[in-house]
Point group: C2
Chain length 352, copies 2
């Protein structure tokens, strides 16, 4: 929906930059924020690896802050304070805070109170807030867990922190990743910096045209009374309902498996279950020269064809085991059934 | 056409990287070549500004070498030798040589003998050769001025210089810039470096799908006997013939104008006429705080709507006046007629 409908606050078109997918915008903003080899960026752990990859590309320092699994993967401002202090003690200049909301891989949704605290924290440490909000339209429990944009919070708090919000067409109803469309919106960014962003963005010349068409469709969907509204509403409704249903079924069944627990995810397209693997499995992984969750994920792939991303690849703390699964697969019964069969067999194989 | 048909030498698919247009490949390779703040890249002048923009973005040093207008904008290896020596005397580490063939903005085509000399020069100075060959299918005098790829020359010389060749669908028969498709091919690049390129290219996730389809169509066009060959041949033939005809007409008529001369361009989509402006025009430009060719181009735009890129924006030597025009405009008679009328009026306005 248009940004004023979403936030109750208008947008300035000169502060919106179209991109070929959100990742190009993230890469561009990180490259501009990293001014020397002491520039650090706060990133959530577990994280979507785009951030560490872009930081590596632009010689920036990732400063991890940990999300709290015991509280539905919520973000704890104190934990970020701790990470800032730790980085500063190592001589790192902390430039920006990345928040992914809804979360990837966790699917968590930030509550408004936490968002206000995060804005205050950016004020305190003079941080740019990089809000990765690409899953804002992928909500499975809209009533209890609505999406609130950081732009809305920043405006309502009358905060002056510089904010960059990223969005993408890749995560819409049908997931049009291959069209490459996205945008980022700047708020509280000085005009002379906006001009520099414009200059840097122009180096990439033109953008994929089908992606630009997609962005237009995304931010201006059919309205009640318009000719295509009913069809659009019913088609996207079917997709969103199916995603919500799958997410619920998968969480319920994962939580019944031995050695597995899974936090429900009100947003995004993933689940991020935790696995507590038997000692023998951990040892077998070690013998194979792999992290335990990678060992599990490889076996899952080999035996079922299901591809899961191990948490160790997403920065998860050493010794913990997790994997990220999408909720995109049709035929959830068969899919979860295969995973259950595999998991029980795997656990049995390594039971003591 | 497929690379083995073009060059007589096979390609390794693992050494070909699809990109969202040639410019992404150029930016990626420049970012990898620039290892510190003393890394320099040889670029032709006049140049397509992508190179200086990418070098600025990645903190690389542009090392200009000048093309020779008196010899149809040919590339003189001695001039490059001079530029290398100059850069080295300033402590710059010269990493790579950019060659744009067919030329942008000049439309020049390199002769095979010169290409051999350039390969030898890269051997001598241990340079990576970055061959921007995006206009390889835009040829207006194929019989006298065929396109020869650097890959062919490197292979035939049995040279071991690392070569990166860039191509794009943006400059094909219909100019599908908005689909964003391209590729680069590596030759003589060590496998461990190929692996790093693969890793860096992967940070950008997926590419525009329509662009990938376009690349496939470009490198595997319909062959004689296939159902769509005749239509394809006639449609693209009409376009290529029109471009060649326009280029010829424009050169002929520009060369009849007072104070203008224009080197014929056997390739690409541009002409790059030289203008010798009256003293009073140069003074008027100075009074307006503009380069003389920019002053001319602004007047041209204001009075006719024709947009030309002044040579001063393409790195041209101070004091010379040039502008780049495309040969894309339908209705060449009217277009050139407007430019002629403007030019005569402009020259008269400032005549002494």
């Amino acid at each position: 929906m248009s940004r004023i409908d979403r936030d109750g606050h208008p947008s300035n078109p000169n502060h919106i930059f179209l991109t070929g997918g959100a990742s190009f915008g993230v890469s561009l903003m990180l490259s501009m924020l990293i001014s020397n080899d002491k520039s650090g960026i706060l990133i959530p752990i577990p994280q979507y690896p785009l951030y560490t990859a872009c930081l590596a590309r632009h010689n920036g320092i990732p400063i991890p802050y940990y999300l709290d699994e015991s509280k539905h993967w919520s973000t704890n401002p104190d934990e970020i304070d701790r990470a800032v202090a730790g980085a500063q003690s190592e001589g790192i200049e902390v430039k920006a805070l990345v928040v992914i909301n809804p979360g990837n891989p966790t699917g968590a949704l930030l509550e408004e109170g936490v968002m206000r605290e995060l804005v205050k924290l950016c004020e305190k440490h003079k941080l740019v807030l990089l809000a990765d909000e690409v899953y804002q339209d992928n909500l499975h429990q809209k009533e209890n867990h609505p999406f609130i944009s950081f732009k809305k919070v920043v405006r309502e708090e009358a905060s002056n922190i510089p904010l960059v919000s990223f969005h993408s067409i890749s995560k819409g109803a049908t997931g049009e990743c291959g069209r490459r469309g996205g945008y980022f919106e700047l708020a509280n960014v000085p005009e002379e910096v906006v001009e520099l962003v414009y200059k840097m963005a122009s180096v990439d010349l033109n953008l994929p045209l089908p992606g630009q068409v997609g962005v237009d469709c995304m931010v201006r969907p059919p309205q009640p009374g318009s000719p295509s509204y009913d069809l659009w509403k019913s088609e996207t409704g079917v997709i969103h309902d199916a995603l919500a249903r799958r997410s619920t079924i998968m969480v319920e069944r994962f939580n019944k498996l031995p050695g597995m627990s899974c936090v429900p995810a009100p947003g995004a397209l993933y689940l991020y279950p935790r696995i507590n693997l038997p000692e023998a499995a951990v040892q077998a992984a070690k013998d194979a020269g792999k992290e335990a969750d990678m060992f599990y994920a490889h076996a899952l792939l080999d035996e079922t064809g299901i591809c899961a991303i191990p948490g160790s690849e997403l920065g998860q703390k050493k010794g913990e085991g997790h994997f990220r699964l999408t909720i995109l697969c049709d035929g959830v019964e068969e899919y979860v059934g295969q995973l259950e069969t595999f998991h029980r067999r795997f656990m049995k194989r390594y039971q003591s």
